[in-house]
């Protein structure tokens, strides 16, 4: 390849999600419209007392096919539910038949992959045994690569595969790098997104950081008290618009940055967040006023939401409605950027700005236009934010062409 090819825009030829609201896009679409949350008091064994989570229903029915039984773990079961929903696996097979299975890449994000299987393996050891059980399959469960490997095996794909683990930006960053692979000429379509699953490590880890809400999360509320952790899968099938179904919603741009500031605290003024959003707008070739809705990272922690409000206000002033949808799904960590990309597409298609759930009025300190009730609006473009530990930031622009 000589010179630089612009990756933008790409078409979302197919998409699927699995969240606490159920498998598939339709339960999510209905819940957004009806303002019905998927969060509930935690049932996950070993969860800290008194917290709420966004647990995916139906995992007991989501075992991998027998020939892929070695991949069985909570994370791959959520991926399996995603492949079964929304005609996604069929859409991928159709695209693979058109371009060739070796021309379809898989670029997916996860923060903890199947580490929950390892947690179980530690507990399954007989008293006095140090070694993990002989039937524990690290490579097909715990290892980050287990996720793209499962997807490739299940979909019969033989193209490049990347697994991205940049904490809570993993899913968004995977979508961005999918575009890079298409622009570099090594793939014609990409299965991109993220999958993350509940595990004791993240539940207890965020608890140790005192970042878990003592009830359902209430992002942007003045008295917000933290995160509700969720689990989810979000997968997009991305292609060049000329190859995609007519009228498909577009991924118009993506931008990333690093804070270079602190391992677990965002830059207080949100400099990294501003530069990721600006880079995404620049890629898409649009001005801030051409964004109709900002889907915030909005985790519900004191620090994230305050930082993000400053960053969003810096770019958009009060002109663009903003909200977090984590009141519906919980914070699904490495899947959040992917499911929120799908939410962004749904908002454009439905003409819906979903106001933050369970928030009477936004934090009085906030200066952005925080929405707390659903609004009907003719949206053309949505900006979706993801930020994570290690100072990782990524923003996506989804919608219709100019």
């Amino acid at each position: 390849m000589s010179g630089r090819a612009s990756p933008w825009p790409l078409a979302i030829s197919a998409r699927t999600v699995v969240t606490a609201l159920g498998a598939g896009v339709e339960p999510l679409r209905a819940a957004l419209r009806d303002r019905a949350s998927g969060l509930a008091p935690a049932r996950f064994p070993g969860a800290p007392d008194g917290i709420w989570t966004g647990e995916v229903p139906g995992l007991e029915e989501a075992a991998p096919p027998p020939e892929l039984a070695g991949f069985d773990c909570r994370n791959n079961r959520i991926a399996e539910l995603a492949l079964r929903a929304d005609g996604f696996a069929e859409a991928v097979r159709e695209v693979a038949a058109r371009h060739g299975a070796h021309r379809i890449a898989v670029v997916v994000g996860t923060s903890t992959a199947g580490i929950e299987e390892t947690e179980q393996a530690y507990r399954r050891r007989p008293e006095g045994q140090a070694e993990l059980p002989a039937d524990f399959d690290y490579g097909r469960t715990h290892d980050l690569q287990a996720l793209p490997r499962y997807l490739q095996s299940r979909l019969g794909l033989t193209g490049p595969a990347l697994v991205i683990s940049t904490a809570c930006t993993s899913g968004a960053r995977a979508i961005m790098e999918a575009a890079t692979l298409i622009a570099a000429g090594v793939a014609d379509a990409v299965v991109a997104g993220g999958v993350d699953s509940l595990c004791r490590l993240t539940l207890q880890g965020f608890n140790a950081l005192e970042l878990l809400s003592r009830g359902p999360t209430r992002p942007c509320a003045g008295d917000r008290d933290g995160i509700s952790i969720g689990e989810a899968a979000g997968l997009l099938l991305l292609e060049r618009p000329a190859d995609a179904p007519p009228g498909a919603t577009l991924l118009l741009g993506a931008g990333a940055s690093s804070d270079g500031h602190h391992m677990s605290s965002p830059h207080p003024e949100g400099l990294g967040a501003v530069s990721a959003m600006r880079a995404a707008l620049d890629c898409a070739g649009i001005a801030p006023e051409e964004i109709g809705y900002v889907n915030l990272h909005g985790t519900g922690t004191r620090a994230n939401d305050a930082m993000e409000d400053r960053a969003v206000h810096h770019l958009f002033g009060q002109a663009v409605p903003c909200s977090s949808t984590k009141g519906w799904t919980g914070h699904t960590l490495g899947a959040s950027g992917a499911i929120e990309a799908v939410i962004g597409a749904l908002c454009v298609e439905e003409g819906l700005v979903p106001g933050c759930l369970r928030v009477d009025s936004p934090d009085p300190e906030f200066r952005s236009d925080i929405v707390t009730e659903n609004r009907a609006a003719p949206l053309r473009r949505v900006l979706s934010n993801s930020f994570g530990f290690g100072g990782s930031n990524c923003s996506l622009v989804i919608g219709r062409p100019a």
Binding site: M1, H142, P148, A183, L201, G260, H262, M263
Partner: protein, 263 residues
């Protein structure tokens, strides 16, 4: 096919204490001798961050620092950090701590457990706000990182630091996922036509797994002992300034046909 150029380079592994001390060994003009590799303290980190960073991060930062020595501005590089195991010491300690009757994880260990911890420390160390990617990839992590870094350099046009590193995990994780020794390799990549390049790389993804490595000497036998050591054939071609074509594992169902053309 993706084309890019190689500028800075680094290696840290058994008997390979940095590129400067290892180039002749890799080129075949000096013998390789097995020796434990002492990694220097990460001079770029502030004393506070240095205390927080564990052995895995120190190894990654040593390779990243050496590969970027000639860069006028380290903060101007995008980064790709690639590691199969991440920080096994931290993950192992957290897994043990979760077994306690009353679980109380260390907050510092938890935020150090994210796979992008080494990348986070690097960007703090050099004050960089450029994008950073952290990848896994099991035994193909180096090839996956090379693909991502080369694609980024060719599409986005800016210089990219690729840093691949892995460290043996503690027991009992080590039994389930053995890694023989610590190893790190780092490269600075730019667009193919950039002046001052050491070599040009041409990467073509191919379906199917890469052929099994067949080591023809003791140094090459390191290749299968650590995912980052899969960089050795490329590092040797760079050191010997030899035109070579290799097949490099880069994913579960694909590999890279990798040509290295010395400049």
């Amino acid at each position: 096919m993706i084309r890019c150029s190689v500028h800075g380079v680094s290696v840290w592994g058994p008997g390979l204490p940095g590129w400067a001390a290892s180039e002749a060994v890799l080129a075949g003009s000096s013998p390789w001798e097995a020796a434990e590799c002492a990694v220097p303290a990460p001079a770029l980190l502030s004393p506070t961050e240095r205390r927080r960073a564990g052995a895995t991060t120190r190894l990654a930062l040593a390779a990243a620092a050496e590969a970027t020595e000639a860069e006028p501005d380290r903060a101007a590089l995008e980064t790709v950090f690639s590691s199969a195991n991440g920080d096994g010491a931290v993950v192992g300690a957290l897994m043990e701590a979760l077994q306690a009757e009353e679980v109380a994880l260390s907050p510092t260990q938890f935020h150090n457990s994210v796979h992008n911890a080494a990348a986070g420390y690097w960007h703090i160390a050099v004050g960089s706000t450029h994008p950073s990617l952290s990848l896994g990839g099991h035994d193909a992590a180096f090839g996956a990182g090379l693909l991502a870094a080369a694609a980024s350099a060719s599409v986005r046009g800016g210089p990219v630091l690729l840093c691949a590193y892995d460290v043996p995990m503690p027991a009992p994780l080590h039994g389930a996922r053995p890694t023989a020794f610590p190893f790190a390799a780092a490269l600075v990549l730019r667009q193919a036509d950039s002046p001052g390049a050491r070599a040009v790389l041409e990467l073509t993804p191919r379906p199917g797994p890469a052929p099994e490595a067949s080591p023809d000497d003791a140094l090459m036998a390191l290749e299968t002992g650590n995912p980052a050591a899969r960089a050795l054939p490329l590092l040797r071609a760079l050191a010997a300034r030899r035109d070579s074509v290799q097949r490099l594992a880069s994913g579960p169902e694909s590999h890279l046909e990798l040509r290295c053309i010395p400049c």
